[in-house]
Symmetry: C2
Subunit: 116 residues, 2 copies
DNA sequence: TTTTCATATGAAAGAGAATTCATATTTATT
DNA sequence: AATAAATATGAATTCTCTTTCATATGAAAA
């Protein structure tokens, strides 16, 4: 792209969409969300239960926190991360339904899709 | 990443999430969706109304079609693309609500976010 | 107050998706 | 049949996000 950066296309209000969906387009972050769905956890707990290196978890949580998909509260030297379920859970439900009713199982896009 | 590719972390069912959200994490595709929300259009019509080069539109539509966010029907030598609104519109509503109620306007993540 | 535990941060490297551009394909029109 | 119009495709490049890893910061424990 020449002049205007890609995000500029979104204008103001749509930066939200970009950050939100970019977060959800990431496997690790989805796994974090699914893990927090069950129970709030510290960084170390997430790191251990998902078997993922700590700083990776931290970076991921930073983005998730940014658009308030999660929020954190201090507890001693830990930070307990909690999922903001109000938006995420209904959103997952929508996709699950989409997968079942619209895609009817073949949503997995074999070969013809530019996304791997 | 060493062995397993990133998508593998998703296991089976979650490929859907990845393709779906990766599509939505893209400004052009969001703009296409918003344009089709108003009225179904051919590739050329989209290209002109968004002022974006044709093949770019085509590539974008291919991915969107893949996970059935849009679908196309032939009409002469044109392809009329139509938005599958059932999933997308409720999803946008969720985010709009999230932006208003949860983020209260500061969802734009200034600087502290890893996502540009 | 030094050590240890917990988390965050920065920057370089890596990976994946978007863009570009040339060209192929497909369908209509003449 | 040849041309034109509409769309699709492939591959190289570019762009953006993620990963990595070393290290910094902050808070409790010894």
């Amino acid at each position: 792209m020449k002049k205007s950066s890609k995000k500029k296309e979104y204008k103001k209000l749509d930066k939200t969409y970009h950050v939100f969906f970019t977060n959800l387009a990431n496997p690790l972050k989805i796994n974090i969300i699914l893990s927090l769905k069950r129970k709030k956890k510290s960084v170390t707990e997430l790191s251990k239960s998902l078997n993922i290196e700590q700083s990776k978890i931290s970076h991921a949580l930073t983005s998730l926190k940014c658009c308030k998909i999660v929020h954190a509260k201090k507890k001693g030297r830990k930070r307990i991360y909690e999922l903001n379920k109000e938006t995420i859970l209904p959103m997952f439900k929508l996709i699950n339904k989409h997968a079942k009713t619209v895609c009817k199982g073949d949503c997995v896009c074999k070969g013809d899709c530019t996304i791997k």
